[in-house]
């Protein structure tokens, strides 16, 4: 199962939270030692440096709540792709590494700018409306705001990422 199937119009009803700190970098998300490996092999090492429990226990539909500058560093999109491989439905953080943000959207992974994301604790559950810009902590009961995803990018997310988005564009050209 991949994240785009779960997202459905930017709404996530209930997702389990994995929580991390500031500056989770691309070498942690996709270690250089495995860069020659295919994406599915790389995905086995995602976050292992900071959290060996993540890969064995993450389930499709889970989300990550993290600190500032999530995905900083390299342009390697295996960082975003590994999270999509494990079915992570969204990453919430006060800010993102700029290239990671683009890579996430391109792979159909919702990246949500949420100033309060560090307040959400590991193991709790959240509901997300990316269009309205709302995040609800279902266990703690608190409501948080997130930046709504701009329509241009939401269209890409809704298509399941850039490749599927372009596929549609080229197909429309042929039939036009």
């Amino acid at each position: 199962m991949s994240a785009p199937e779960i997202i459905d119009r930017g709404i996530i009803d209930r997702a389990k939270v994995w929580a991390y700190g500031d500056n989770v970098d691309t070498d942690v998300l996709a270690p250089g030692l495995y860069m020659k490996s295919p994406p599915e092999e790389m995905a086995k090492h995602c976050l292992e440096i900071v959290d060996p429990d993540f890969v064995p226990n993450v389930r499709p539909g889970d989300v990550i709540c993290a600190g500032r500058n999530f995905g900083m560093g390299s342009s390697r999109e295996q960082a975003a792709q590994s999270l999509v491989f494990h079915g992570v439905a969204a990453v919430l953080a006060p800010s993102f590494g700029g290239i990671f943000y683009r890579n996430a959207i391109n792979h159909g992974l919702m990246a949500l700018v949420c100033a309060d994301a560090p307040k959400i604790t590991a193991g709790s559950h959240v509901a997300i409306d990316a269009v309205a810009g709302k995040v609800r902590d279902l266990d703690g009961g608190a409501d948080y705001a997130c930046d709504p995803v701009p329509p241009y990018l939401l269209a890409m997310l809704a298509d399941g990422g850039l490749v599927l988005h372009l596929e549609k564009r080229f197909a429309n050209k042929e039939t036009a």
Binding site: N23, D25, T26, D27, V28, P31, G32, L33, M35, K36, S37, I49, R68, N69, M72, G73, S74, S75, R76, E77, A80, S95, F96, G97, G98, I99, Y101, R102, N103, N106, H107, P150, Y152, L153, G161, L162, V163, L166, E167, F170
Partner: protein, 421 residues
């Protein structure tokens, strides 16, 4: 409305008069640069899926630098695929094992002020030293560019950094960046444009300007930028290309910027970043005495001809400490050739340097020169994230080429000014 240089370039690429910060626009790409890691092996399957080829082969530069030379079956396969892609797509600009992409691109005259350029690598801001808007993208983004010739961008604001004063002995552009990383943090750039201005910049050669823009990546900026001047134009002419209209691609005098910072480098000493972040930087005295196993001059950040010259100043007539490995991977084949002709390589190798091929290699933990468990390295590279250069328990310190060379001689981190006359 007054426009920043970045806004002018983006507006031109988007085919509109002006753009406003925050606006999302679609831009036509003047040049797309990619390498063997994020390039063909990743974009080819996407192009095949879309059933299209490269939109304009003349506007694509492909450079093999990450897995060169092949060290195992997998890297050999990746390089073979890269070469076959260049042939199949009739790419006129394929540089195979000629050096690191960010150095080779301007060296071969591909950059000039006003261009809108994407690079399939996070250190693509290096190109901003030539007055281009050049930023890094991932492989899927690159496939989109190759298929359509365009990409989207959210118009950034500009954060201006005025660098003033003369660089003292043993201090380089690298120290300016390490000091800025400590001061502003790795997200201080907030995916905006970091533009360098001031009298220090005007006096810097292109190679040092490239180091400033290169490490805009470590400030979390979308890109670094330095408006073109006569130094820029000379470099481009020497590379056999036309610099175009330098005067056109400048900031409007009253263009609004988000923030301005001033750094006076006259009082700056050599800086060292402790593990595991470039933002953990401070004066070399803070880490002096740290024993090292390996010293590494390499990468797009710290192995250009000027960097090799800095290392040679320290190493002339000296020997690498017993028990310390000193590896040098010049940034490009051209820089290596020049360093051989001007005697720099002889100084390095007589001191005990092990010369390595031009490429990204050890910096990214891909190739030869990676670290064992608990080993300590000082490098002239840009990143010291945990595990980046090899084992998870290894420690990487970052310094300028003088400092790396001084550590090689002493077997521990030392103030390089002790070795400079």
């Amino acid at each position: 409305m007054a426009q920043t240089l970045a806004q002018k370039i983006i507006a031109h690429a988007a085919g509109v008069e002006t753009v406003a910060p925050g606006e999302i626009v679609t831009c036509k790409v003047d040049l797309a640069m990619m390498h063997d890691s994020g390039g063909p092996r990743r974009v080819q399957p996407i192009l095949e899926k879309l059933g299209v080829g490269v939109w304009d082969p003349d506007k694509v530069v492909l450079i093999s630098d990450h897995y060169v030379p092949a060290v195992d079956a997998e890297s050999a396969r990746i390089l073979d695929l890269t070469r076959k892609f260049a042939a199949a797509q009739n790419l006129p600009n394929f540089y195979d094992m000629q050096g690191i992409c960010h150095i080779v691109l301007p060296e071969r005259g591909h950059l000039k002020p006003g261009m809108f350029v994407v690079g399939g690598d996070s250190h693509s801001p290096t190109g901003g030293a030539f007055g281009c808007f050049m930023f890094g993208i991932g492989a899927t983004d690159m496939a989109g560019v190759l298929a359509t010739g365009e990409t989207w961008v959210r118009v950034p604001e500009t954060i201006q950094i005025e660098v003033t004063g003369g660089l003292p002995l043993g201090v380089s552009a690298k120290d300016v960046m390490l000091a800025l990383c400590a001061r502003l943090g790795m997200d201080g750039g907030d995916y905006q444009v970091v533009e360098y201005v001031g009298d220090t910049i005007a006096a810097l050669p292109m190679a040092e300007r490239m180091t400033l823009c290169n490490m805009a990546a470590e400030l979390g900026a979308q890109t670094g930028l330095i408006a073109g001047d006569e130094t820029t134009a000379d470099f481009i002419r020497n590379a056999g290309a036309d610099p175009g209209d330098i005067a056109r691609w400048q900031n409007d005098a009253d263009a609004p910027v988000r923030a301005s910072h001033v750094i006076d480098v006259a009082a700056l000493g050599p800086q060292v970043a402790a593990p595991h972040s470039p933002a953990n930087s401070g004066p070399v005295a803070d880490t002096a005495g740290t024993k090292i196993d390996q010293a590494y001059i390499g990468a797009c950040t710290g192995a250009k001809l000027v960097d090799l010259h800095m290392a040679a100043e320290v190493l002339k007539g000296r020997k690498v400490a017993k028990g310390t490995r000193f590896l040098v991977a010049p940034a490009s084949q051209k820089d290596m050739t020049t360093a051989a002709a001007d005697g720099t390589l002889a100084i390095l190798t007589e001191a005990g340097a092990i010369m390595m091929p031009s490429g990204c290699g050890a910096c990214a933990g891909y190739g030869a020169g990676i670290l064992a468990e608990h080993e300590v390295c000082i490098a002239s590279t840009a990143r010291n994230f945990q595990g980046r250069m090899g084992a998870t328990s290894s420690d990487v310190y970052l310094g300028n080429p003088y400092t790396v060379a001084a550590a090689a001689v002493a077997g521990e981190i030392r103030d390089p000014r002790e070795f400079l006359a």
